[in-house]
Amino acid sequence: MTDEAQDVIGDYRYGFHDPENSTIRFDQGLSEQVVRDISELKNEPQWMTDIRVKAYRHFVERVMPEWGNCDLLNMIDFESITYFLRSSNKTEKSWDDVPDDIKNTFNRLGIPEAEQKWLGGVTAQYESEAVYHSIREDLEEQGVIFLDMDSGLKQFPEIIKKYFGTVIPYSDNKFSALNTAVWSGGSFLYIPKGISVEMPVQAYFRINAKNMGQFERTLIIADEGSSVHYVEGCTAPSYSTDSLHSAVVELIAMEGAKIRYSTVQNWSSNVYNLVTKRAVAHKNATIEWVDGNIGSKLTMKYPSVLLKGEGAHAEVISVAYAGEGQHQDTGAKVHHLASNTTSNIISKSISKKGGRSSYRGLLQVTPKSSGCRSKIVCDALILDENSRSDTYPTMEIGNSTADLEHEASVSKVSSDQLFYLMSRGFTEEAAMGLIVNGFFEPFTRELPMEYALELNKLLELEMEGSIG
């Protein structure tokens, strides 16, 4: 590792990188030809090429968002990004067949170990495409489809064509247009009627190359009465130049189905993380977004739920940790489009060492939706004078029968709390780490145990050297 890299990495544990071996690497920069080349390389059906090109044209015309952190957004140099990089010619079913460098990386990230212990399936994406993929046989026998998105398009083009872009059209925003134009990898997951997948399935996204753009595209469909827990993790090496991660994730929960989607995003602090995540919940369906944002330079992400069917329920629990040089602009959007729909939003953020966290939320109840209930709790913890936290809640309530609660708090760690813990033998840093873990507890208790422990360790590490 070079000294420069070490400087940038600091305490970030996942900042190592492999030599850049690629079988195909596009030149940096974006054009309609790049978009067509990606589609051709993947041998896609014409309709997909057409969507990509339309999306690209929309991306070019669409202005950058004029809200959020415009200064940082406008610093993105789209011409310096690599839009496609294939590092392995095949998606392997056995870790033994994955190229050594890449396999070692995933070993260091603990993925094969987790897979053996407690996962129902794994997709490991490295740069633009999945390098490893597997699903437990018993799930496959039950008709569960879990594939990387490229394989999904090849094997189930009709399903993809029916649902792709129906929850998040390319024209939704500038970055959904970009993703639709150059998407590669991601997951396609289908759960048949009535099937409950007990073990979580996981996708892990790793960026290795410098100035890389990763644009995975995920589509999850839970058929009537089924349920699944999908877990997503992300890391990247630390470089002094920026990378871009811009995903689109669409979830569809049919009548009575339940999807839980958990993310622990721990990108290195040179990654722009601009992601659109949205779900549709039909009658009596449940969507749960459990969304943790620890890493990245700028994250803009607001997991959304369209409660379309009567009795549908949305749960969004998110945490954001903004350290030095980071801006976490996160939140949740819930649209109550049908009667007797309910939602719960919990947002927790911590700002430290000049970091900035923003909560941006939208709660909508349409005029024809009666008997809706929603509770929103937003708590911010600010660890020092230089750090910042903002809240931008929006409510559009069109029906007077709605029952809404909104609580917000901004707090600081009190000297009494620190003194109390230190009088019990904790160093100041350990005390701070414990307080922070406690603050995030409503989030970590929703994660699988292994993730919760990992996240707590991570937060404790983040607290090291945080006391001035």
């Binding site: 109390y420 019990r424 033998g425 904790f426 100041e428 350990a430």
Partner: protein, 250 residues
């Protein structure tokens, strides 16, 4: 006469101020291992300040004098080092730590103070025994530290920590306040157990704890200084007559 035990705490001519206001004005006090000392006094006399400054609360500034723990000047030790050296403060108002379970907190605290992780099974046994002694239900362990605790529950958790941490110096700041008689008995039992082999400084307003915990010395504090020292009979006298008879400024 018993032989003179090890000196644990020595306070010499201690002057302390908070935000520029002088609170302690020349306190002298020495406590040996196995001794129980009690400080009584009116609200605002400086009793809690004394306990907090010994433990190292950053808001209190020592303007004159010194504190020695086992002969070592305390100013050299950070708060967590004092805890690891065997000092313990039972807080009058213990802080709430939301989201942190009592069980996790106790284990981490014991690990910090003993400088090694306690063995799982042995620790559980020790914990169960201590909790039974204090009539604490197991459900305590999964609650968040002091979050939504009643006054009595908070005090019991303080004593539980004291039993686990086995301090050489226990500072008990109004640990008896707000306890009903049953809780007071339980807490007193805990104090008596620890007091056998450590130095104890108990701050209280009330004589009733002293029916259950027998002090060696009782000190009356007025206006930031110890003005009278005696045996258990002084506590009875203070409860009976108040402090005016000792207060030269009154």
């Amino acid at each position: 006469m018993r032989e003179v035990a090890e000196e644990i705490l020595r306070i010499e001519n201690l002057h302390v101020s908070v935000e520029g206001t002088a609170i302690l004005k020349g306190v002298n006090l020495t406590i040996h291992r196995g001794e129980i000392h009690v400080i009584m006094g009116r609200n605002g006399a400086g009793k809690s300040t004394l306990a907090n400054v010994v433990m190292g609360h950053p808001a209190y500034v020592i303007t004159e004098g010194s504190i020695f723990y086992k002969g070592q000047p305390l100013e050299e030790l950070a708060v967590f080092e004092r805890a690891r050296a065997g000092m313990f403060l039972s807080f009058q108002y213990p802080a709430v730590i939301p989201g942190v379970q009592v069980g996790t907190f106790l284990k981490k605290s014991v690990t910090s103070v003993r400088d090694e992780a306690p063995k799982g099974r042995a620790f559980r046994k020790e914990l169960t025994a201590a909790m039974e002694q204090l009539s604490m239900d197991k459900s305590f362990l999964s609650r968040y530290v002091n979050d939504g605790f009643s006054g009595g529950e908070k005090k019991r958790l303080e004593i539980l920590q004291m039993l686990l941490l086995k301090p050489h110096l226990a500072l008990l700041d109004e640990t008896d306040s707000g306890l009903d008689i049953d809780a007071l008995r339980i807490v007193a039992k805990g104090i008596n157990e620890v007091a056998v082999d450590s130095a104890c400084l108990i701050i209280t307003h009330y004589q009733r704890l002293l029916d259950l915990v027998k002090p060696d010395y009782v000190h009356a504090m007025i206006n930031g200084a110890i003005v009278q020292t005696g045996g258990p009979e002084l506590a009875l006298k203070l409860e009976d007559r108040g402090y005016d008879w000792l207060d030269v400024t009154a």
